[in-house]
Symmetry: C2
Subunit: 307 residues, 2 copies
């Protein structure tokens, strides 16, 4: 079962995070504590899983034995976590609960929450560049420099673009400004806000695994479609979800009079469009030269998700 597979991965991945997460040392324990509080708050590790499967679809090496994937996957989870901490701040979504736990600014205060977010974003790039530095220093032959460092640099650039103002942060800005008021601009916002980082994970993994330029484009397309479907599902769950499963109050979008996919076209069409997007994503995967069975299984498992 794919969901068992992901759960197993998630519990193993927590130990990877514990090992790799940068620490400020004994003198500044509060920043470590705040970063770890959110980083280890029971995330599903969907993005690291996507990166690992994206990598293994194109590489014969297991992800955990690669010189870069463990650091890059941890970095992606750090970027995701920082975005949640800043998202929850009083000046943005003003959320007190996340995954059923108090949000960072409730526990540590707004000042430390802002700095913990900054710390996680910076640590993400710290971790990736240190992994690249080690790989570069230990690269004996030309081939290995090219394969490891050059692919790593390409993946990092892809991740940075996806997380940045043209990607996730851009989506967040559109959201904050309430600029997505029709279906097509909402979809484009979801692509940036959610799709871009899911693609950073999956496509970043494929780049590290050595996918061709054409396959990188295909993987990206599948990831963006899956990301939009995932975000529409969030809108659906906000209406029909179980509070204990989703970890936040049901109906909060409606309370905020937020424009969502469901508010624009109704529950039924939203559910149909999720299935359509997931099916299209799987079709694109079939065109690649990679072994994408596990990615397809993951997409299947998202259909009808209730968490």
């Amino acid at each position: 079962m794919i969901s068992e597979n992901i759960k197993e991965f998630a519990s193993f991945f927590d130990s990877v995070i514990e090992r790799l997460a940068p620490s400020a040392g004994e003198k500044i324990p509060v920043i470590d504590k705040a970063m770890r509080y959110s980083l280890l708050a029971g995330g599903k590790r969907l993005r690291p899983y996507l990166m690992a499967t994206g990598f293994e679809a194109f590489s014969n090496t297991g992800w955990e034995d690669d010189a870069l994937v463990p650091s890059f996957a941890t970095a992606i989870e750090m970027i995701h976590t920082y975005s949640l901490i800043h998202d929850d701040l009083p000046a943005l979504d003003d959320d007190d609960l996340r995954r059923g736990k108090e949000t960072s600014h409730i526990v540590f205060g707004e000042d430390i929450a802002i700095l913990a977010g900054d710390g996680l974003l910076n640590s993400a790039f710290e971790l990736m560049s240190i992994a690249l530095e080690y790989a570069g220093a230990s690269a004996g032959e030309r081939k290995s420099v090219e394969q490891t460092v050059l692919r790593g640099v390409k993946a990092m650039a892809y991740i940075a673009r996806s997380a940045g103002i043209s990607g996730m942060i851009g989506g967040q800005v559109i959201d904050v400004k309430g600029q997505a008021r029709d279906l097509s601009s909402l979809v484009s916002m979801y692509e940036k806000k959610t799709g871009a980082l899911l693609s950073a994970a999956l496509t970043g993994g494929a780049i590290l695994g050595g996918a061709s330029a054409a396959d990188i484009r295909r993987i990206e397309e599948a990831a963006l479609k899956t990301g939009v479907a995932f975000q529409i599902q969030d809108d659906i769950l906000d209406v029909v979800g179980d509070e204990s499963m989703i970890g936040k109050p049901v109906g909060s979008d409606e309370k905020r009079a937020q424009v969502t996919y469901v508010s624009l076209c109704g529950l039924e069409q939203a559910e149909r469009d999720v299935e359509k997007l997931l099916a299209e994503a799987k079709d694109v995967l079939k065109e690649t030269d990679g072994h994408c069975d596990r990615i397809a299984a993951l997409i299947d498992s998202l259909s009808g998700r209730s968490y």
Copy 2:
């Protein structure tokens, strides 16, 4: 005159920023506008200047002709700028003025100020990794891959560490928590909060320029001493400065009952210690194999600074 030299550099460097700063495109103009507002708010470009001179001390190429230095120097200025935007937020220092202009959250609101800071930090790493990606893609021979990409990866890791929780963000956390209450912990906080990013610039430049491991350590030592001196000067200027020169109200530290170098040991010792640190920094520079005359001249120009 070195100060003319820096002014000339700063006005040229603004055009480098204009050319290299990532843009979110037409659909999300507010984030570009907010990022540029702070990025082009009349900074002295001290950090990019340090990176350029650090590079040229060890390389025969002019900094502006290097494949990485313009992007890396812009990235450093972006990291510096994001830290100022987040520092000024109501939950942190709650400052309305910076360099004589209204701060980001006053102009754009707190939500966009937080995201503009995130955007600048992310864009910094985006810019560095894209420069590395291009350098990697165009590197034909092994030697050039090694020299450009591997040095670049090393410099980026150094910059990331300096900007992160063991460096600048760590210093900021100590500051926020008011943990530096004696001279030695205050100096250690200044090393992190100010010295680390100045060192990221100068030492990062030296790494890109090909400095030896021993010289990298020396340049770092000089940069950290200069950074601490610079921060003590800020404390001095807060007491004796001219509001129109420093761009913020004089006496604000005292008003906040903030522990500063001056409040702990008085104006006279503070001024003596600045000179001592700057002299030590210059002594260390003399031990390197680099051409450090311009760095030394810059340090000389800082002695007795009034801005």
